[in-house]
Every structure is written in C-alpha cells, then in structure tokens.
C-alpha cells in the first residue's frame, strides 16, 4: 500500500497541467498508457496502476454509468484492494473504512459533486486522484486552489495572440480543466477548494447545478455531457480559509477522511514513509527505531483523541493537528539528529524536542496540556522513564 499520506504542497507539474497544459493537452497527457519511461519523479495514478485498471475493466461485468471506465463496485475495489477471480491482486490504495470509499464512489455516480474533507495528512488528494483515474481513466483534469486562483482557471481563458489576430472565436478560447471535463464527460478535480477566493469558488455553482458553462463573449455555452463530475478537496482544520457559501456547499456530498483508525496502521504508515524519506536523505536506518516510532505515534494518537490507549484516562487535546504527516516529520527529524549528532540509534531524547514542537503550538495553553500529559500519563508508564526524562529536560 502506498502510504496514504499526501503532500499538500503545490506540485509544480500539477500546476502546469492545470494552468497551461490545456493548449497541448490533447497531444500527450491524454493518451492512456502513454509510455511512462520511468523517468517521471511521480507517474500519474492511471499510469502507475494501468495493469490493475485494465484487469478490473476486463473482468467487470456490472453495469457502468455512462462514460465510466469501470462500474462503481470495481472502482471501490480498485481503491480498497482485493483479489480478482483470475488471480490479479489489486493493491489497496486507501487504508480506511470501506464505508467512506463506498459513499464517495456512489456520490460520483449520482450527479452530486464530491467534497473530501479532512485535516492535513489524511490522503485527500491521493483518494481524489485515484478516484478520477478509476472513474474516467484520467486524473490530470486538475485545478489547484490557491489564494490567487483566478476565475479563468475554472472557466476559460483566452489566447491573446489569437484573439487579437482573429477576434473572439472558439479557437482563441483556452478551456479550463473543468470545461474540458464537462465537454468530454470526465471527472474534474479541484484541490484545496477553500483556499480559492469566495467569488471564484462561486463560479462552480452554475457548473454544478445547471451543468452548463456559458461563454457570453461568443454567445455560446458548453453543456456538460453525462459522465461529468467534480471532486474537490478541502482542509477543515485551517482557520481563516474561505468557507464555502451554503449555496455551493449544498451541491456537494461531503465525506470526511479520518485519521488512521488503529495505532498499528498508523505505525505502519509512519515507518514506511520514514524509511522512504530517510533513504532519499541518506540517513542510516535505525535498528530499534520501530519502538520509538510506536511511542511517537502513541503520544500523537493519545493527545489527538483526548484519551489514553487503554481508554482509562481522559486528556485535553492541544491546538495542533498532530496528524500522521507530523509524526513522520518528528521521526525523520529524530533520525537526522541521531545520525549526525548522536550514536546513530534513535533514542527518546532525539524525538522529545520534535514532539514538544509539534504539540505545543500555543505556548500558554498547550504547555499546560503537555505537562499534564507528562505527569499524569508518561511518568507512570512502564518503560517510558527515559522518554519522560528526555521530555522533562526539553520542556523545563
């Protein structure tokens, strides 16, 4: 399973495909199964898992909605993994409740748009990319939401050379990914919807309710054909984002992606990612690292959930998100510390400072919460004495 941890940073290649790729979109990115060549840093989902998609399509005899590459059931299988009758193993793309994937896929099969919500690091982008790849065979119709996303990114822009030379015409028009998705009955994606300014967000209302995009300059319109739908992702933890207007919100079915359910799953995700990152940074692998990783994950989970693992003691939750992604960075940091300044073994003292930094975001309230946690929980736990001391040292 690829670690279900996304990066919320703007991927330059995505940006390009969103903003300027339309001009040559029909030439290369669209050809299914285009030679990957293995040179890309990160191939698109539909290329990386082309064989799984092909196997699913070959064996899928359930009814498919118009222009869907797979039936809803097969899409769910593609995301959750499984073994096909002919023995093809489908790797799980998303580790989490089945219910969530089912609701998401079903939503796409109705004409409602899908909104994936979640704190940073819950695989929203990852799920949206794979959904689009499985449903439409193309995950590149993407609009990356930023504070500066203009209306053109959602509707259409103009090729000004053409416009000046020949006047307004469909040739001078540069369609947005959303417009192309409408015309071709594909799945469009909008990343970080809540970062887009409110007036630009509202452009989506007509598209989602009337299923049409008027072009007043030409007196024309683009009507969505069957098969068109839209997946948006948004972060529900950040304050000060542009909240969706209720009119727009009503067009979406909302699915909240939870943090990993069990500690073991989270430890698994963290250690895998730490391993990957560590290798790319040439950090030595720590032999006893797994214990420390488990400890970090335990601390994060307990503080996040506001209750200890044994369910006996309630705790206050600090203001930080304490997501899996943060646990990964704490452990990576600790590894770097251990490698460069320690003896190469990941020790409590290496992660203590990182944990403190992740937990104590608000110096007044969070510090008390952290100390309470240290005194009430950590101090009495067997085998955690070193960790307790290390934490006391850095928090003093």
């Amino acid at each position: 399973m690829p670690a279900s941890v996304e990066t919320t940073t703007v991927d330059p290649s995505h940006d390009q495909s969103a903003q300027s790729a339309p001009a040559n979109a029909h030439t290369d990115t669209h050809v299914p199964g285009a030679p990957a060549g293995g040179e890309e840093l990160r191939p698109h989902a539909e290329h990386a898992f082309a064989h799984e998609l092909a196997a699913l399509a070959a064996q899928d005899d359930r009814p498919r909605p118009v222009r869907w590459k797979l039936s809803p059931w097969a899409v769910a299988t593609y995301l959750l993994g499984g073994t096909l009758p002919d023995g093809t193993v489908i790797t799980p793309k998303y580790v989490g409740p089945r219910r969530i994937v089912e609701v998401a896929v079903t939503t796409l099969a109705t004409d409602r748009a899908l909104l994936l919500l979640g704190v940073p690091g819950t695989a929203k982008t990852w799920v949206s990319e794979h959904l689009a790849a499985a449903v439409s065979g193309d995950s590149t119709l993407l609009v990356q939401g930023t504070a500066g996303t203009p209306e053109e990114a959602i509707r259409y822009g103009w090729n000004y050379a053409q416009l000046l030379a020949h006047g307004p015409s469909r040739d001078a028009l540069v369609p947005s990914p959303v417009m192309r998705a409408m015309a071709e009955g594909m799945t469009a994606r909008v990343e970080e919807l809540t970062r887009i300014p409110a007036d630009v967000q509202d452009t989506l209302i007509t598209i989602l309710s009337e299923k049409t995009l008027p072009i007043p300059e030409l007196g024309q319109e683009v009507q969505a054909v069957r098969g068109f739908n839209l997946i948006a992702t948004a972060n529900d933890r950040d304050r000060g984002v542009n909240d969706l207007s209720s009119a727009l919100r009503r067009r979406f079915n909302t699915v909240v992606l939870p943090l990993p359910e069990s500690a073991d799953a989270e430890v698994e995700i963290v250690s895998r990612r730490v391993d990957q990152i560590g290798r790319s940074l040439d950090l030595p692998t720590a032999p006893d690292g797994i214990d420390e990783i488990r400890r970090v994950v335990t601390v994060f989970r307990e503080l996040r959930d506001g209750v200890t693992t044994d369910g006996r003691t309630k705790l206050k939750s600090p203001s930080g998100t304490l997501s899996t992604a943060e646990a990964i960075s704490v452990v990576t940091n600790g590894l770097a510390l251990a490698a460069h300044f320690g003896d190469g073994v990941l020790r409590p003292s290496d992660v203590a400072a990182g944990i403190l930094g992740a937990v104590v975001r608000d110096p007044a309230a969070d510090r008390v919460i952290w100390q309470e946690y240290l005194e009430a929980v950590v101090r009495e736990r067997d085998g955690w004495t070193d960790f307790y001391r290390a934490c006391r040292e850095v928090s003093a």
């Binding site: 219910r99 919500l117 919100r249 909302t254 699915v255 100390q371 309470e372």
Partner: protein
C-alpha cells in the same frame, strides 16, 4: 407447512397442526408478519413465549394508560433483588400477538417455563454452581444482565440478582450450560448471516425478513425461517437436560394442553425462531414431564413496569439486544416509503436544532441512500445506508449532528407507561423489609435519631437513609449533631410523609432493591452532573450510602471531568471534598482505593496547573488563589499518608510546586508569601533562606503594595503568623526595617493591607509584638538557634528534660505503629 406454500390464499388446511410463528424478538418485520399470519389463520388461542405467571396481567395490555415500551418484571417475593425482565416494545412480535388476541377476544397465554423456576435457577448458580452449569457463574464474569454482551435471542428474559449484600457479578443469565461456548446457540442468526455472506447479522435479517413485504403468503417467511433453524439445530441431542430443553419441554406440554382444549388447528404459537424446530418435534408427554421433575422453586411475583427505548438499546443495562429501537419503531409504524419518511424525520430534527436542511437535501439523501443500497447489493436502503446518506448530505460529513440523530431518532426517547392498576413494584417491598430488619418504622411524627456508626444496626440505618436520599425519597434529613462532632456519629431528622410512597414508586424505575436503585441513580446522576464539585459531592454521598458498585462509575466521570477542566480553581475546590470522603471511607471501612487514585490524580493536575494559573491575577483573585493554596495544602497533607505507591511522594512534589510559586515574580505577592510560609512551616526552607526571600521582596526595588501583600501572605490570617514574628526576631527585624523605609506617600497605600494583616492577630500577640518593636529589634539575642529573648526563659533548651517527654508524645501520636494520627482510626478499629 408445504401445503401452505402451495396454496397461499386458502386458509390453512385442517390437520396442519398448531401454527408455529418463529420470530426474532423485537423485530418489526417479524411483528408485521405475525400480525398478518394471525389475521389470516384466525386461531382460537394465542400462545406466547413468556412467563405464565403473567397471564392475569395480559388484560392490562389493552388498558388505555398502557404504552409500550414496557417490561414484564418477575421477582422473587422474599428477595426482590432477584428479578428478570421481559421487555416489550410496540414493534415486538409478542406485543403484537397480545394486542391481536385482546382485540379479537381470543385468549392469550404465556407458555414459557414459569418464572418461579427460572428465578430459582439464578439462585442455585449464585449460591453454589450446580454441577450441570459450572461455567456460567465462574467463567462468565460479565453476564448478560449487565448489557455488555448482546443476547442471542433478544426477548429472552434478562435476569439480575442484586440481593442485599450479594455481589452483582456472578449471577447467571438465562443461558444453558453449553451456551457460552456454542456460537450457534449464542447467536443463531449470526451463523445464518455468515452463511449468507453477511458480516452483520442485523443487516442480513433486515434484508431477508424485515424488508421483505408480506404480500402474498402470510406464512411463507415463517416456513423458511423454520427450515433454516431446523438445519441449525439438526445436531441437537434429542433429550438434553440443559435449560433450553427444559423450557421447550414445558412449552410443548402447554401447547398440547391448548390443542386439546381448542382443537389441533386453532392454536397459534409465537416464540423465538430458535425454539420452533424443538416445538415441532414429536416427544412423548411422559418424556417431557420427566424433564420437568424436581425443578427448584422460589415464590415469584410479576408486574408490568415502564421501560424506555434507551434500555432496549444495547448500550445500557438490561439491554434487549437491539441498538436501533427508534428505527425499528419507525419501520413498524410507517405505512409506506420508510426511507423517505425517515429522512424527512431526520431533516425535521436537524432543523429544530437550527441546522439548515432543505427539501433538496432530503431528496439528495434519498437518492444517495438508494444508490448506496444498489451498490452494496441490498434490496432497500437500511439504517446503514440512510445513516451514511445523512452524514454525507445533511451533516456535511460531520459526526457531531449525526450523534444527535442517533440519540434522538435511532434510539429515541420513548418512555413507556403502565396503568395504575399494575401491581406494586418490588422496590416498595424491599424498603418495607429493610425497615423491619433495621427496626426503623416510618412515622409521620418528626423525631431526631442519633446514630453511632460503630454499631452494626445504626450503620445499616445510616446507609438506608443515605440511599433513600440519593433516590429523592427524603425520609430523613441529616441534622447537626448536638452532643458530639466525631465522624462516627450522625444525627437525622426523620419524618415519613404520605407522598413519599409515591416517590418510592417513582424510584422503582431505577431498580428492584434500594441498593440497586440507589446505585443506578447515582451512576445516572454522575453522568448528568453539571460541575466537578457536584460530582465530588456525589462521590461523598456514595461513600456515605456505601454504594461501592456505583463508585467506579462516579470516579471515572470525576476523573474525566477533572482531566478536561482547565480551571485550577475548580480542581482545588474538588480536592478537599474528595479527601474528606476518604476519611469517611475510613470510618466505614469501605474500600477507597479508587478514590485515593482519583484524588492523587487530581492533586497532580493541580500541581501542574497551579503555577501558570497564578500568573497575572488581580487582588481579589489572588486572595482566592491563596485560599486554594491553603486548601490544597491541607488536602495534600492528609492525602500524603494514603498515597505512597505509584504517585511518588505527593508532599515532595507539592513542595517543589510551592518552591516554584515562591520564586516566580509574576505570581502575586500574597500567594508567594503564603508559599514561603508553608515551606518554612514544613521545615523545607531554612530560616536563613526564608529571611533572604523576605529581604528580597521587601527590598526597595519592589513596589510597596506588592511587598505588603507578601507580608499578608506570609504572616497574615489566623495561621499563627504573629507567633512566628514574636519568636523569630530576625524576620521581625526585616519587616520593621522595611516598614520604616517605606516612603511617606507610599505608606498610605500600604497601611490598609498591613492593618488587615496585623489586626487579625490575637491581642496578646499584638501586645508582645508591640513591646518587641518598642524595645527595638536586634537588641536581644538575634542569633538563630531558637534563642528567644522572652524574659524568664533560659537562652537554650534543656534537652535532657525535653527528652523525658518524648515517649509520652510518641505514644499519643501513635508513631510506633503505622496508623495515622486521627480519632477516626479509633472508630475504624471499633467498627
């Protein structure tokens, strides 16, 4: 039955034998099917699985004031704590059958084994595990009565045996000997569902039975189910001696009697699907009789009691094993389009809670639910699909409004009612019994009662009165004792008002004995308590009433509240009451370990939170905080004895907190001064050090008002501060030097504070201080070492003479053994 399947429209052919309707207890689909089958077959008698002692109570079901959910309650007459419940909801097939019989003037009878035997089973098991059922009591510490494990057939009676003084655990549920180990008997439907490829038996049942309209053949579902159950029970021993066999033998006998009376085909039986194959089985009367020989008996009494949907749900005690009674009620109640109507109901609830939910939302939710059902391969959307749809469409993915929907609709707040004609509740009997035993007669005349808790009978009376108070039966009011203030004495003012009988009847919903009812009430109160202080008070009352079973729950709520309460002041208020409870617990010899743990945890939280909470306080808040510091200090002192293991030494940690307080400039002067003083008193701070700290605070760099506050904290109040100044002239000298050094204009600011500090001293102390100051400090023997300038005393202690007193002091303080220094201890030994 095959004949019926072929000719569904024709009434049942004669000679088909009794109509056996196997149901799932509390299944709305079953209930509907039962109604249809009864209407089609028109039997002349309806037999229902249930205790036959309740037969006379059946007509009450038609009473206007009878509203389900209700439960049949059987209890042993001489031991009200031994009881069993048969809950019935509006959508229970048994209830439907009873109502049908009453409406059509057809006799209805209960045919299960009489409660007089089933209750006796419970007794055997609690007394000494009978050889046949060795596992139930010993290996199954969480019996079904606690509602923790879902019973296989939800309508089986739920038993409890919380007789006075008897432990609540270890009582048997209604399981046969092999039951806990045999998955088929534990949950036959789960086995069937698994065979059908369902992971959740509820959903399988919903798909196969509940969602299947009964159009066409009214008897077909029962035939199919009987066949499946028959397959499941194929391997059964023909003449087992377990409880199921005994019950089924009794049912068979009753069935035969009814057949003789009304005719072979005129009998309809409504029972759990599990029992149908056994009832169908041909067995001789003699064999059945033999099984029933020698069953032990208790005298049992039955009544109707009101029930609630919440109790039907799995989460609470006496659960009937269904977790969505509200949803089932809805399925049973609506004429058509259950999903559309349900989602409209949900929308209505969310609107009432000020959430914007439009009709468009409802439409979208219905569509999503239906598409989801199609994708999951189900015939109709069930609760899972509608819940998913509500979450995604109406709740914006959030679980918070969804939990409201679950609480109000899926479970529901329905409260049953029972007509007044129903027999008395067992709680009244239990109370009467206790009153007799404790020789405490209810009298209308007010009188005062002195109790000496060291006596067995008096302690029992005190417990009873405290428990009744918790239940809202205000028979006795605690009064201030006139003669003694010892903790082993209690004074009560007693008066029995007639309306108290009504209160007792009301309290009957909480349990069948005073102990069980008070325990349940205390637990419910703990969950509902608004503030931390309320819970500590409740904990105190639980200890007084000796509700040991309720304590863990109360303590858990307390610990949770304490963990989430960010206000140190609240914690500091709660701690002394807790520590006080600990002392009461000592007197009554109750186990207070849990309490000690919580108190220690509370203290730790205070230690962590106190220093930040002391920053940036105004004068009033600082005074209040000083009070808290004092209260915590007192509590920690008492607690330190009780807690040694696990929490380190609380006193040591408290001292380190005080040290932090005393050294931090942002802490108000009065708190700092107090902290230094406590440390000095406890010998944690050398006098030199105290003097240094005082000098620091009183140095010209500090604002005079702050310095005066420090002094107030250090020597103020009735805490013997004056004597300290009298005996430590160096400190007095420091104060004196500072005071004379205060600039003229600042002096007027400082004066009120100082006056408040010094005016609280006793006159003698004030005079001595005045004399010392007049004489001029530093003129006497100012050196440290206990030297006192008081006239008439030697400069040094005469240690030889002092040593002579030591053995006596040691004896008085009891320092030779481990016992703490407390008069309570005497009582503890005596009681």
């Amino acid at each position: 039955m095959t004949a019926q399947q072929e000719r569904p429209d024709v009434p049942r052919p004669s000679g088909a034998g009794p109509l056996l309707l196997g149901v799932r207890h509390h299944g709305p689909g079953s209930a509907r099917a039962v109604r249809a089958a009864l209407a089609a077959a028109r039997p002349r008698v309806v037999l229902i699985e249930g205790p036959p002692e309740a037969d006379p109570l059946i007509p009450l079901a038609a009473d206007e004031d009878m509203r389900p959910p209700v439960a049949l309650l059987a209890h042993a007459v001489d031991e009200p704590g031994r009881s069993a419940f048969w809950p019935l909801a509006e959508f229970s097939p048994e209830w439907v059958a009873i109502r049908w019989a009453l409406e059509h003037g057809v006799p209805a009878r209960f045919i299960d084994l009489p409660a007089t035997h089933t209750l006796a089973w419970g007794r055997e098991n609690t007394a000494a595990a009978e050889p046949e059922a060795p596992t139930t009591a010993a290996d199954d510490p969480a019996p079904r009565t606690q509602g923790e494990t879902a019973p296989a057939t939800p309508g089986e009676p739920e038993q409890t045996a919380e007789g006075s003084g008897e432990p609540a655990d270890g009582n048997p549920a209604d399981d046969g000997p092999g039951a806990p180990t045999d998955p088929v008997r534990v949950d036959p439907l789960a086995v069937l569902a698994e065979a059908a490829g369902y992971d959740d038996p509820e959903r399988w049942w919903e798909d196969v039975v509940e969602h299947r309209g009964t159009g066409g053949d009214a008897f077909a579902p029962f035939a199919v189910l009987e066949e499946a159950m028959g397959a499941l029970r194929e391997g059964d021993a023909a003449d087992g001696h377990d409880r199921d066999s005994v019950r089924e033998a009794y049912m068979r006998l009753q069935m035969r009697a009814a057949q003789k009376e009304f005719g072979d085909d005129a009998v309809a039986v409504v029972c759990g699907a599990w029992h149908v194959p056994a009832l169908r089985r041909k067995r001789t009367v003699a064999a059945d009789r033999a099984l029933l020989k020698g069953l032990s008996k208790v005298k049992a009494d039955m009544t109707w009691v009101p029930w609630t949907h919440r109790r039907l749900a799995r989460a609470s005690g006496y659960g009937a094993g269904i977790d969505s009674p509200g949803w089932y009620g809805h399925l049973f109640g609506v004429p058509d389009r259950p999903v559309e109507r349900w989602l409209t109901k949900v929308a209505g609830l969310l609107r009432a809670e000020d959430r914007i939910v439009s009709s468009a939302h409802v439409i979208e939710a219905v569509r999503l639910a239906e598409t989801l059902a199609a994708m999951r391969g189900r015939p109709l959307p069930g609760l899972t699909e509608t819940t998913d749809a509500v979450r995604a469409v109406m709740c914006e993915g959030s679980d918070v409004p969804l939990s409201l929907v679950h609480d109000r609709l899926v479970v529901g707040d329905v409260l049953g009612e029972v007509p007044e004609a129903a027999p008395a509740v067992p709680l009244q009997r239990d109370l009467a019994r206790l009153q007799r035993r404790l020789r405490l007669k209810p009298e209308a005349l007010e009188r005062e009662l002195e109790l000496d808790l060291r006596k067995e009978n008096d302690a029992g009376r005190s417990r009873l009165l405290h428990r009744l108070r918790l239940l809202g039966v205000a028979w006795g009011e605690p009064a201030v004792s006139r003669s003694s203030t010892g903790t082993f004495r209690e004074t009560w003012r007693l008066r029995w008002e007639p309306e108290l009988a009504v209160r007792v009847a009301e309290a009957g919903v909480w349990g069948t004995t005073v102990l069980a009812a008070a325990t349940a009430k205390a637990e419910a109160d703990a969950v509902a308590a608004p503030s931390l202080a309320d819970i500590t008070t409740l904990a105190e009352r639980c200890l007084l009433a000796e509700l040991t079973a309720a304590l863990p729950m109360v303590m858990r709520v307390l610990a949770d509240r304490a963990a989430l309460d960010a206000d140190v002041a609240h914690l500091a208020q709660a701690l002394p009451a807790l520590v006080r409870s600990l002392r009461y617990g000592d007197v009554r010899a109750t186990d207070t370990r849990a309490l000690t743990e919580v108190a220690a945890g509370l203290a730790e939280r205070i230690f962590v939170g106190l220093p930040p909470a002391c920053a940036a306080l105004d004068a009033d808040a600082a005074q209040e905080m000083r009070g808290h510091v004092d209260a915590v200090h007192g509590a920690v002192g008492l607690l330190g004895d009780a807690v040694r293991t696990g929490h380190g030494d609380l006193r040591v940690r408290w001292h380190s907190v005080l040290r932090v307080l005393s050294g931090r400039d942002t802490v108000p002067g009065v708190v700092r001064g107090r902290a230094v003083r406590i440390l000095l008193d406890d010998g944690e701070l050398a006098q030199d050090e105290a003097a240094r700290l005082m000098g620091l605070v009183l140095s010209p760099g500090t604002a005079p008002a702050d310095a005066a506050a420090w002094i107030e904290g250090f020597v103020g109040g009735a805490s013997g501060g004056g004597m300290l100044l009298v005996h430590d002239e160096r400190l007095l000298g420091l104060v004196d030097t500072w005071l004379t050094g205060v600039p003229g204009d600042a002096f007027t600011d400082v004066l009120p504070l100082l006056r408040r500090t010094f005016s609280a001293y006793e006159p003698g102390v004030r005079r001595t201080l005045g004399e010392l100051v007049r004489r001029g400090p530093g003129r006497g023997s100012t050196a440290a070492g206990g030297g006192s300038g008081a006239p008439g005393f030697a400069a040094d202690l005469d240690t030889d003479r002092a040593d002579a007193v030591l053995p006596v002091v040691r004896l008085l303080l009891g320092l030779d053994d481990r016992a703490p220094i407390d008069d309570n201890d005497l009582a503890g030994v005596a009681g």
